[in-house]
Amino acid sequence: MTTTEIDNKTGLVTQEYKINMGPQHPAAHGVLRLVLTLDGEIIEKVDPDLGYIHRGIEKMTERDTYKQIVHLTDRLDYLSSHINNEAVCLAVENALEIEVPDRVKVIRTIIAELTRLASHQLWWGVMGMDIGALTTFMYAFRDRELINDIMEETCGTRLTMNYNKPGGLMFDIHPNFQKRVKEFIKHFKVSLPEYNTLLSGNVIFKKRLQGIGYMSKEDAIAYGVSGPSARGSNISCDVRKIHPYSAYDRVDFNEILMEGGDSYDRYMVRMKEMEESMKIIEQLVDNIPEGDFETKTAAVLKLPKGEYYQKVESARGEFGVFIVSDGKKSPYRMKFRSPGFANLSILDKISRGHKIADLVAIMSSLDFVIPDIDR
């Protein structure tokens, strides 16, 4: 519906209008289409339109065995692929009451934190680029390459690793793993303060983010926002703290909370989270227990009849796996609770009244990965 208004003084006719942002928009980080209702440059409404990369992954799980399902979750939030894999494996292991060796738990945690670091690095680079600072993108990719190399050496691929399997890991860590992780941490301890000087303190960047896209605590809870985006509004929701899984119960790290709720606070949460991730890795990397890298499981896993839920903290928030099993080798129904979907739902609420250019900043601060929203 369009409303037409005539300005009494000037006699000019103003009219609401709609434009498309995406699905092929360089700032949309993927095929997301937003229908914007605008009054001049002011956003009145944002309607996300999904479905451009719907692959029916949830339906595909009903055809696959539990071991095969794991690799599909690489293709949800591809920047947290290891964490997604871990969620499925934990759900299956809990259902079958498989106890995985300590070594597996620690290695999973280290790689999950490396994944989170790589994801936040990429997000930082792209965030700068969205605001107009191209240098950040180059620096972020330079550092992320080191993590990708570690992944390639130990897991075999750089992004969609599929390194987990129910009961353990696909292979043991590479003999160079610990050495390279320590090298990376040493390098990144120098780089991260540079990131902060380059972008976090930059006056233009700050002006573009502070006070933009305010999300109140109540709204965030009402819309089910999770992860760093919610912690920017002072909601304690870190699954690693509240329901520790794998080796998170034996490491010491802080949950980062910020009071402000605007885009800049969401940005700062992620920047500080990178420090915490490094802290976790440092505590674990020298203490990987000896032992097996897998528990032997049956060739075909059959989950007992029932419902199982497992949640983990992915780089974007709470990722949940809900399995309904009827005792067969494939699930009866499998549902993924993806953080991106809930985080996208609040976009309309927090961007009303801002300018179009701010929408790009708000979207970056919410850190969307579209295949995670649209599965």
Partner: protein, 159 residues
């Protein structure tokens, strides 16, 4: 008065942050010769190195007598989530025991459908298939992505 002071101090502070940022980019600019990470692909094709575990596509190992280890057991075909593997086999009567036995005719592999999940390689009981580092997989026609992994004329290695 205070407002004026704030106004100017904000401008000066702003300039300072910009200069700090410039300092960092300047530092990297002048040190660039030390920290080049860009690779001159494809000029460096001959010197490219890969990690051992790097997965680019599935291949079947053949020895110098053109023999492989695949006994057509179809485990990889069952393990594959995407139906990327099709085993075509003949049943041949073993002259010694008189029993019928599977003999591999073609190990068909659809690279276009493969997600490089490694499940087939892990599942194979005889380690007949492995992951190669052949990463340049672009072809002009989609049909070229489907290939037989066992070489023509190859046969099962006697163990």
């Amino acid at each position: 008065m205070n407002a004026v002071i704030n106004y100017f101090s904000e401008i000066i502070g702003g300039f300072k942050t910009l200069l700090q940022g410039m300092g960092i980019t300047g530092k990297h600019f002048f040190r660039a010769h030390k920290e080049i990470i860009t690779q001159q692909y494809p000029d460096n094709r001959d010197t490219l190195t890969f990690e051992d575990r790097y997965r680019a596509q599935v291949y079947m190992e053949h020895d110098e007598n053109n023999e492989h280890r695949c006994d057509a057991c179809q485990t990889c075909e069952i393990a594959c989530p995407n139906g990327s593997i099709e085993i075509i086999f003949d049943r041949v009567v073993d002259p010694e025991t008189g029993k019928k036995k599977k003999v591999l005719d073609k190990h068909i592999y659809h690279l276009g459908m493969c997600t490089l999940c490694n499940l087939c390689v892990l599942a194979c009981p005889t380690e007949a298939i492995k992951m190669s580092h052949e990463f340049e997989t672009a072809v002009y026609d989609r049909s070229e992505l489907t290939k037989a992994l066992n070489k023509p004329g190859s046969k099962l290695k006697e163990s």
